[in-house]
C-alpha cells in the first residue's frame, strides 16, 4: 500500500491510527475480563472465601465451591467471551481471518 503515490503518508497514518484504536479496544476488553478472572479466583476462591462459606449452593459452602468448581467454570466462559468479542473487534477494524499469510509452506486445513 505504500507504493500508492501521493497520499501514502496519510494512509499509513490512518492505518496506524486505526491500529491504535484497535489495540486500545483490545486492552479495555482485557482489563474487564482479567478483573473478573481475578475476582473469581483470588477474590471468591481465596480472600473472601471464608466469608462466603456462610452461604451455600447445591450442598457446598460457597467459598469452597468457588475454589474447587465455580472459578473453573468462569475461566472457561471468559476465554470464549474473549474469543467472540475479539472476532467482532477484528471484523470492525477489517483485521479478520487472513489465513496464515506469513508462512510460505502449504497449509493443509483439517
Amino acid at each position: 500500500m505504500k507504493s500508492d503515490s501521493i497520499d501514502s503518508d496519510s494512509k499509513e497514518h490512518r492505518q496506524s491510527n486505526s491500529q491504535k484504536l484497535y489495540w486500545q479496544a483490545n486492552l479495555r476488553l482485557l482489563f474487564k475480563l482479567l478483573a473478573v478472572w481475578f475476582f473469581v479466583s483470588f477474590g471468591c476462591g481465596i480472600v473472601f472465601a471464608d466469608w462466603l462459606d456462610q452461604f451455600s449452593i447445591a450442598g457446598f459452602k460457597l467459598g469452597f465451591w468457588f475454589s474447587q468448581q465455580g472459578a473453573i467454570y468462569v475461566f472457561v466462559i471468559l476465554i470464549f467471551v474473549y474469543s467472540k468479542q475479539m472476532k467482532v473487534l477484528d471484523r470492525q477494524f477489517g483485521l479478520e481471518n487472513q489465513d496464515d499469510a506469513g508462512q510460505t509452506h502449504e497449509n493443509p486445513k483439517s
Binding site: Y22, A71, V76, S83, M86, Q98, D99, K109, S110
Partner: protein, 591 residues
C-alpha cells in the same frame, strides 16, 4: 478374564494405536516437526493441548493430594486452570501471529539478542527436564502395579513408544497421538468417577455428587459427612484450609503464571492456522481440561470417605484386597503399634521416617513388616497420595475392566506430556541452539536430522530419570511452575505489551527471576530443609509460591532497566506493532 490380562490388553491396544498414528503422520519438514505444519484445527489443538498439559501429576497425583489436604488443594485446581485465561488473553494469539517455531525464537527476535535467546533456552530446558522426570515416575508406578513388571522394564517400554512417535513424527505425530491419549485418559478418569458418585450419592454427575446427600440415610452431604468423620478422627475439617491466605495466594499465582509460561503448552498454539484460532483453541483446551479438573475434587472427597470407611478400625485380616495389592508396591503400609490387629487411621505421620522401609518379613496377620520406628501418633497407616486415583476403582469394588482402563489412562497422561516436553527440548536444541546460534549454515534437512537426534537423546535422558529417579524429583515438579513464572512469563508479556522493553531489561529480568526463585527453593528444600516452615519463610511464602515473588522482581528489573537504557530499534517496535494485529504476515520467514 483376569484384571491383569485385561490391563495388558488395554495398555497394549493403546500403544498399538499410538504407534499406528506415528507411522501415519510422519514429519517431512522442520515445519511439520516443530509445529505440525501449522494447520491444526482449533478443536484438535485444544484436545492435544489438554493431553499435553494433563500429566501424570494431574491424572495420578492431583486428586490424591486434594484428598489428603482438602480445601488447601484448591491451589492446584485454581492455579492450573486459571493460567489458561492468561494464556488465551495475553500470550497465545500474539505468539501465533509472530508465527515462528519455538518460544526462545520469540524472545530472541523480540529482544534482538542471541544472549536473550540462550537465556530462554536455558530456562526452557531447566523447566522441561524437571517436569519430564516426574512423568517417568508415573509410568513406572503404573507399570509396576498393574503389569507387575520391573519399573525399569516399564520405563523402557514407555520410552520406546514415545521414541517412535516423537522422533518420527515430531509435533505432527505428537499432536494426533495426544488427541488419542486425551480420549483414553478422560474416559479412564470419568468412568470410575461416575460409578463412585452413583455408589455414594446416587448422583451420576461427580461435580454435583460431592455436594449431594450420601445415600446412607444420614441426611448429610458428602462434604458434611467427610468434615464430621475427619474431625472425629482428629484431622482438621476437610472444607477448611490450614495454609495462610498469603501463601495460598502466592502458590496459586505461581502456578497460574507458570502455566502461562510453560514452553510445551505455548508451542501448541503455534500449530493452528490463524490468530483467531489460537484464542478459540485455548478455550477448547480449557474445556477439555476442566472436565477432569472439576471431577478431581469430587473423586478426592469420595476416595477419602471410602478410605475411612473401609480401612479405619478394620482388622488387617479382613482388609480389602486392594490394601495387600498396594502394599506390594510399597505405596501403603501398616504398622500395628498397639498390637490389636486393627488398622487405626488418624492424623500425623504413622512412621518415622515417614516413608515405609520394608524389611522383607511378614507379621502375624500377614502384613509386611517395617524397619521404621513407630511415631507417637495413633495413626498406623501410611498411604501414598498417588494411589488414590489408581486404587480408587479397587477401593470402590469396580470390575476389572475399569481398573485396566485406569492403568491405560495413567500411561496415556504420562506419555502425552513426556512427548510434548521432549519435543520442546529437542526443538530448542536443534533450532535455537544449533540453527540459530552455533551452526547457522545447516540445511533444513540437516536441521530436521539434528531435531530427531536431539529428541532421541532427550528420550534416553528422560528414561534414565525414570529408572534411577533422583530423590528430589517429586519435590521439584511443582517448582517447574515457579521457575517458568519467574523467568519466561514476564519476558513474553512485556515483549508483547511494552514497546519500551529492551534486551537489557529482559535479560536482567529473566536472570534475576530465575536466580532468586531457584536459590530460595534450593535453600529451603536442599540446603536447610529443617528451616522449611513459615517462621523462616519470606513473608510466610512457601518455596512452592515463591515464583510469584520472583516474577514481580523480574517485572521490576525488566521495566526499570528498560527505562534506563536505550529504546529497542525501530524494526523491533514495528515487529511489536505487527504481532498486535491479527491480520497480515507474521515475522519474516527465514527458513
Amino acid at each position: 478374564m483376569s484384571t491383569q490380562l485385561l490391563t495388558y490388553l488395554f495398555v497394549g491396544a493403546s500403544f498399538a494405536l499410538y504407534i499406528g498414528i506415528a507411522i501415519w503422520s510422519r514429519a517431512g519438514s522442520t515445519k511439520d516437526f516443530y509445529i505440525a505444519g501449522g494447520g491444526v484445527h482449533p478443536v484438535i489443538n485444544g484436545m492435544a493441548t489438554a493431553a499435553d498439559w494433563m500429566s501424570a501429576a494431574s491424572f495420578i497425583s492431583m486428586a490424591g493430594i486434594i484428598s489428603f489436604i482438602g480445601r488447601d488443594g484448591s491451589v492446584y485446581l485454581l492455579g492450573w486452570t486459571g493460567g489458561y485465561v492468561l494464556l488465551a488473553l495475553l500470550l497465545a494469539p500474539y505468539l501465533r501471529k509472530f508465527g515462528r517455531f519455538t518460544v526462545p525464537d520469540f524472545i530472541g527476535e523480540r529482544y534482538y539478542s542471541q544472549a536473550a535467546r540462550i537465556v530462554a533456552v536455558v530456562c526452557l530446558i531447566f523447566v522441561s527436564f524437571t517436569y519430564v522426570a516426574g512423568q517417568m515416575r508415573g509410568v513406572g508406578i503404573v507399570f509396576s502395579r498393574f503389569l507387575e513388571v520391573e519399573v525399569s522394564t516399564g520405563v523402557i517400554i514407555g520410552m520406546a513408544v514415545v521414541f517412535m512417535y516423537a522422533v518420527l513424527g515430531g509435533m505432527k505425530g505428537i499432536t494426533y497421538t495426544q488427541v488419542a491419549q486425551y480420549c483414553v485418559l478422560i474416559f479412564a478418569y470419568m468412568v470410575p468417577a461416575i460409578f463412585i458418585s452413583i455408589m455414594i450419592t446416587g448422583n451420576p454427575i461427580p461435580q454435583l455428587g460431592f455436594g449431594s446427600e450420601v445415600i446412607d440415610g444420614s441426611g448429610l452431604s458428602v462434604l458434611e459427612k467427610l468434615d464430621g468423620v475427619l474431625l472425629e478422627l482428629g484431622f482438621s475439617s476437610y472444607t477448611a484450609g490450614t495454609k495462610s491466605t498469603i501463601d495460598v495466594f502466592a502458590i496459586t499465582a505461581a502456578l497460574m503464571f507458570g502455566t502461562a509460561g510453560l514452553p510445551h503448552v505455548l508451542v501448541r498454539f503455534f500449530t493452528v492456522p490463524k490468530v483467531s484460532d489460537a484464542r478459540l483453541s485455548a478455550g477448547y483446551a480449557l474445556v477439555f481440561i476442566a472436565i477432569l479438573y472439576t471431577t478431581a475434587p469430587a473423586v478426592a472427597s469420595f476416595a477419602r470417605i471410602n478410605l475411612v470407611d473401609t480401612v479405619h478400625n478394620t482388622a488387617y485380616a479382613d482388609a480389602p484386597e486392594w490394601f495387600g495389592n498396594w502394599e506390594a508396591t510399597e505405596l501403603v503400609a501398616w504398622q500395628d503399634k498397639n498390637n490389636d490387629g486393627l488398622m487405626q487411621y488418624g492424623p500425623g505421620s504413622a512412621l518415622s521416617p515417614a516413608k515405609p522401609q520394608f524389611d522383607g518379613e511378614t507379621g502375624v496377620y500377614g502384613e509386611r513388616l517395617l524397619k521404621n520406628q513407630p511415631t507417637e501418633s495413633i495413626n498406623e497407616i501410611y498411604i501414598d497420595p498417588d494411589i488414590i486415583v489408581l486404587a480408587n476403582p479397587e477401593i470402590a469394588g469396580l470390575p476389572g475392566w475399569v481398573i485396566a482402563l485406569v492403568a491405560a489412562g495413567g500411561v496415556a497422561a504420562a506419555l502425552s506430556t513426556a512427548a510434548g516436553l521432549l519435543l520442546v527440548i529437542s526443538s530448542a536444541i536443534s533450532h535455537d541452539l544449533l540453527k540459530q546460534t552455533l551452526l547457522p549454515k545447516i540445511t533444513e534437512k540437516q536441521e530436521l536430522l539434528f531435531a530427531r537426534v536431539a529428541a532421541a537423546v532427550a528420550v534416553c535422558i528422560a528414561g534414565l530419570f525414570g529408572i534411577y529417579p533422583p530423590a528430589f524429583v517429586a519435590q521439584v515438579v511443582a517448582f517447574a511452575f515457579g521457575l517458568a513464572a519467574a523467568s519466561l512469563f514476564p519476558a513474553l508479556l512485556l515483549g508483547i505489551f511494552s514497546k519500551r522493553a529492551n534486551k537489557e531489561g529482559a535479560i536482567s529480568g529473566m536472570l534475576v527471576g530465575l536466580v532468586f526463585t531457584f536459590t530460595y527453593i534450593a535453600y529451603f528444600k536442599f540446603l536447610a530443609p529443617h528451616l522449611n516452615n513459615s517462621e523462616y519463610w519470606l513473608w510466610g511464602i512457601s518455596p512452592e509460591g515463591i515464583g510469584s515473588i520472583g516474577m514481580i522482581l523480574n517485572f521490576a528489573f525488566a521495566i526499570t532497566i528498560s527505562r534506563l537504557t536505550s529504546q529497542p530499534p525501530e524494526s523491533v517496535q514495528k515487529l511489536v506493532d505487527n504481532i498486535r494485529v491479527p491480520s497480515g504476515p507474521g515475522a519474516p520467514s527465514q527458513h
